[in-house]
């Protein structure tokens, strides 16, 4: 054991421990993850964490799904895969419970892998091809449960790829 290296590591340990303590004291701890339930497995549901804050709600009226691709959980450039915390399918998100409700799952109608059924895709013919599967359809659970939180709702026509006004 090298005495010099041991001293170096002792100093490093002290500095890092102090830095972690200072960081914890000066920042607020992140809230504990909420347990997922069947109710909030619906990303558009009222009880879903997605719906809490409009800015982070991919289903919210003000959601930038159609505006900024990286904020769109269905887009290739979405931060889903970057880090669990940003992943709407991660522990804190309810989407992962029900694969078909998971906008990142390959089998999900929102998945990038299934662009033709992806309601976020510009050319998605979802309402035409499978109305009952389409979160844009009138009969879709999203639309029924929380019209204001539905990106496909009437109040967000420009974000609705199935709407007449959609590009």
């Amino acid at each position: 054991m090298s005495a010099r290296n041991t001293l170096l590591f002792g100093a490093a340990f002290t500095v890092v421990t102090s830095a972690v303590a200072a960081d914890h004291i000066t920042t607020r701890p992140a809230p504990a993850p909420a347990a997922a339930t069947v109710n909030n497995a619906n990303p558009c549901g009222i009880g879903a964490p997605c719906a809490i804050t409009a800015g982070t709600n991919p289903c919210g009226v003000g959601a930038p799904c159609a505006i900024a691709p990286r904020a769109n959980p269905c887009a290739i450039a979405a931060p889903c895969a970057v880090a669990p915390r940003a992943n709407p399918c991660a522990v804190t998100a309810p989407c992962a419970v029900v694969p078909r409700a998971n906008p990142c799952a390959v089998a999900a109608p929102c998945a990038v892998a299934a662009p033709r059924s992806n309601p976020c895709a510009v050319a998605a013919p979802c309402a035409v091809a499978a109305p009952r599967q389409s979160p844009c359809a009138v009969a879709a659970p999203c639309a029924v449960a929380a019209p204001p939180a539905n990106p496909c709702a009437v109040t967000a026509p420009r974000a609705n790829p199935c709407a007449v006004a959609a590009p």
Binding site: M1, S2, H24, T56, P79, V106, V112
Partner: protein, 405 residues
């Protein structure tokens, strides 16, 4: 399997070949740290910290790293370490793919290490592979050798953090380069099909290492007879590579079940860099990456609330404990300027590359392939190519390179 180099010890207090000081400090830090984290955050986070500690001890005692294993295959034609890595990934995949296909376990939602397949993965993984040969360790290798008291790897880690921070600055641009959606073998082929295809592919790579080794040496390498047996070997090492691999597979599974996502390392490095830069007045909070909801929350929150960071701390302390028990903590080793320069460049490239390619040898390769994500295979190929070039570059820095043994 990293570049940790033990030298004859000179100094401080040793008890029966044990480095008592580091054992006491690391052991106490693990216990006190777990209690504090349980109190300040929650019990789950404390358990993950201890899982990290077990990972660190396993990595150290089994000398389980990717850098040396890949170099041994290329330089010496020996594939034993690589086969242990493949076994580890395969063992994890058998559990991961069905669990991830189910979506949850005992009420805990599970999500795999899946990511898009594109330019950012190819470029990032190649940079990472090149960097790990200069840096002397990969993501896990850097952590456990730092825990073991390697001064050189402290340089690598510092620049790893800087590189990861730079990666967060550029990631949004890289994500706009061509890529295709994540492809999960479990989702595409079903749990059984996903596991089978993954195991066959891993076995094929293992078969190539066997062919290479047999062609070069005529027979496969057999491990040296252990110097210790039983409990002394368990506590003080060294452990067989296969034990190490299987233990790490089990610990990654524990991570998946407890945290809800597989083991990752390098996200924590970017976060540490961002926190230091933020404290120094750099407006990282305005960088696009750190404005994303999850990243912003992590930046604003306590580092103790970040799973990856807490597990990284555990790995370093667990490795320090293991190194102390082995009587090999902080080996005396010279650090020539060129070697330190290689460590710095390697660390930078690894940090930057890991951010671009959605993780390192753990988050992208181990957890990615075990999750059934095809991006893990692309990462493997690109990183191995980068590593090959890195082996050629090592002599430029006074390190051993492609000298056949």
């Amino acid at each position: 399997m990293t570049d940790i180099t033990a030298a004859p010890s000179l100094a401080p207090p040793r008890l029966g070949g044990i480095d008592r000081g580091p054992v006491l400090v690391a052991g106490a830090a693990l216990v006190v740290g777990a209690l504090l984290i349980a109190d300040l955050i929650d019990l789950r986070q404390a358990v993950l910290f201890l899982v990290g500690g077990l990972m660190g001890a396993t990595l150290y005692h089994a000398s389980f790293g990717f850098t040396g294993g890949w170099r041994r295959l290329v330089v010496e034609g020996r594939g034993r370490a690589m086969r242990a890595q493949l076994l580890m990934i395969g063992a994890a995949a058998i559990a991961f793919i069905p669990l991830l296909s189910a979506g949850s376990f005992a009420g805990q939602p599970l999500v795999g290490a899946t990511a898009p397949i594109g330019v950012s993965v190819i470029v990032g993984a190649a940079l990472f592979g090149f960097g790990m040969q200069l840096g002397g360790g990969c993501g896990s290798g850097t952590l456990f050798t730092v825990g073991g008291g390697s001064a050189r790897m402290l340089v690598t880690l510092a620049f790893f953090v800087v590189g990861a921070l730079l990666g967060t600055a550029h990631l949004p641009w890289w994500l706009e380069r061509p890529s295709i959606a994540p492809i999960s073998l479990g989702a595409e082929l079903g749990p059984l099909g996903g596991v089978l295809v993954t195991l066959v592919a891993l076995a094929a790579v293992a078969g190539v290492t066997v062919l290479v080794e047999r062609r070069r040496h005529g027979a496969l390498e057999t491990p040296d007879a252990p110097k210790r047996r039983g409990l002394p070997r368990f506590l003080r090492g060294p452990w067989p590579l296969i034990w190490g691999g299987l233990a790490l597979a089990a610990l990654n599974l524990a991570t998946l079940l407890i945290a809800g996502h597989p083991w990752s390392i390098t996200y924590g490095f970017g976060l540490w860099g961002a926190k230091v830069a933020d404290a120094a007045g750099v407006p990282v909070g305005q960088w696009e990456f750190w404005t994303w909801p999850g990243q912003g929350e992590a930046l604003r929150g306590s580092v103790l609330a970040d799973v990856t960071s807490v597990m990284n701390f555990g790995i370093i302390l667990g490795a320090a404990l293991a190194a102390g028990l082995a009587g090999k903590f902080a080996p005396k080793a010279a650090l020539p300027f060129l070697s330190a320069l290689a460590a710095a460049i390697g660390g930078l490239l690894m940090g930057y590359g890991a951010r671009l390619s959605f993780g390192c040898n753990i988050g992208a390769l181990f957890s990615g392939i075990a999750s059934g994500s095809l991006h893990g295979w692309l990462w493997f190929a690109a990183a191995f190519a980068g590593s090959w070039i890195g082996i050629y570059a090592r002599p430029l820095f006074g390190l051993d390179g492609l000298k056949r043994k």
